[in-house]
Symmetry: C2
Subunit: 333 residues, 2 copies
């Protein structure tokens, strides 16, 4: 049955414009030059800059409880994949980190909002997130909902106000473009659409098309928006922005496939959330549909596609995104 599912999925994906460039995956000769790139050093530096920027973006103002609740979930750690994608995509097209920082912070605020609302008792009813009690367990459901609303609103305000600031100086037409992209990534054609279909699929038979829709929208759209926004504020032309978009679509799905694999192979301690909960609650996952080996093979194909989209950029500037995709693919290590 697992191989059947895989054979269903792979031909479908091979026709699926969403994940593929028009060309076939090529070997990426120039990316080989940056194998000694210090990705962990790069990650650590950027992570520190992002965490500092997030801390400053949400100061402890009145009403205190609201800001405490916002900060509790926003500053609770996390891999900061979306901010890193935004910054690395900005640098890929020759932009400076400071131009990407407002959108980087915004993507993390939006992501945190979606987690807070997703964890609520009337949704996934989760008690743990990132190894600590979920927002509503600490602050109550009412404040948790409002903290999410506040983070969502602040994400747009932050981009609108800070992108025009001296260090970044992003032209206003590009600020409008990234605000539209970010909003589309979370709204009724973005994260929320995925959450609704996810909620509706509970206890039902989930086919490949529906699983794909859920993941593309719940996870993929915001990762895509993060990368695209980074390339836009970095000054990329439309061809470069579209390459980054296709790269991010591959990484978005890769992220979910690996997440599903980790749900099968890891324990609660490692993930900081209830392991295998998705399987227990009978949600569809890639290992269920394709078998564990099939899912791992699928992850490799996506990695090759992602790498291919980077092949036209200077190797040094592409190195962070290349290694970021590898990091997503291999984060069980």
């Amino acid at each position: 049955m697992a191989s059947n599912a895989a054979s269903l999925l792979l031909p479908k994906l091979s026709n699926l414009h969403y994940y593929r460039s028009s060309s076939s995956p090529r070997s990426s000769p120039n990316l080989g030059q940056v194998d000694n790139f210090d990705f962990h050093g790069y990650m650590a530096t950027k992570l520190s800059h992002v965490n500092e920027a997030l801390n400053l973006a949400v100061p402890l103002r009145h009403p205190t409880k609201l800001h405490q609740a916002m900060r509790y979930s926003l500053l609770a750690g996390g891999k900061r994949v979306r901010p890193l994608l935004a910054i690395a995509s900005c640098e890929l097209v020759g932009g400076h980190e400071s131009a990407a920082m407002p959108v980087a912070c915004a993507t993390e605020m939006i992501h945190t909002m979606s987690l807070i609302h997703d964890d609520l008792p009337c949704m996934d009813n989760d008690d743990l997130r990132r190894g600590i009690p979920t927002n509503h367990k600490v602050y109550g459901e009412d404040i948790a909902i409002l903290a999410g609303d506040a983070l969502l609103s602040l994400s747009f305000e932050h981009v609108a106000v800070c992108s025009a600031a001296a260090a970044a100086a992003v032209p206003p037409e590009r600020v409008v473009q990234v605000l539209a992209e970010l909003a589309a990534g979370v709204g009724p054609a973005g994260i929320v659409a995925g959450q609704v279909v996810d909620v509706e699929s509970e206890g039902k038979e989930v086919d490949v098309g529906m699983l794909e829709f859920i993941h593309v929208h719940k996870t993929g759209k915001l990762l895509e928006a993060a990368a695209v926004c980074g390339a836009v504020v970095g000054g990329g032309d439309s061809a470069a922005v579209e390459k980054v978009r296709r790269y991010a679509r591959c990484v978005g799905l890769l992220f979910q496939v690996v997440d599903d694999i980790l749900d099968v192979t890891s324990s609660s301690e490692v993930l900081g959330k209830t392991a295998a909960k998705d399987l227990v609650s009978r949600k569809a996952t890639y290992p269920k549909l394709m078998g564990l080996d099939g899912a791992k093979e699928f992850a490799k194909t996506l990695m090759a596609e992602a790498e291919d989209e980077l092949s036209g950029f200077p190797a040094q500037r592409a190195a962070p995104l290349y290694h970021l995709a590898r990091y997503v693919a291999r984060r069980e290590n």
Copy 2:
């Protein structure tokens, strides 16, 4: 006790920069010329345009249940005070309705989101809104929360995408400015701040300062943003925009004072929600703090202030905002 509260409040407001221009209220000679302005005709025309634009802004797309839930609350009627404020403020400074329509729709989406979330069982736990069952009573709590999130996101996307469209052609730097203004109106220094303090005040003694904070943030900030955004997209200079801001602050508080008066004097049938619920649940209201007559007197003062801010504009262009303030003040008729 009521007169004590009034004497506490009035001197406070007379010093309060938030509601006042630097000058004293003047009589407004030029507004007398437009007493025969057909306000009801104006309202009906604009209301029809706004409802048509809202209907088009949220089509019935996949996922159907999400879009149904969004449309259920967004198109359930309502006075559309915020969109009308945006359009009338745009026209006040010489702009065309089409330039204001995206922000007009956005303010109604944001307002609707705040109502949907405010009505949830863990917040106000309301069963009726605008005379029909609340969103979560029809679609469930999960979809109601997500419909709110979707409306909030869409409001920003709608402004970012539609404001640059041919008919409106708002310069991008003004689009960025209104997006920042809108987001600030709803975020942790806007509606959400008011909701948090409102939630926290339940069952406690509420003084004038806290009551004012709740109303300014829950009601005032978005009305202010609507008017300011209208003036900005209409091409107003900063002096005109600030006059509009002060006008809107007066109308915002007027709106709440009249709402409180209506809670005392109207029945459920007229209001379409549980009448006097605020009083029953021991929330502070202006009639409680100032007495019914004191609250009515306060409303008159605010009306005079609002009118004063309009006195420098051409009478014909100021007529809709002048009558809109009168409409808010007298809507019990």
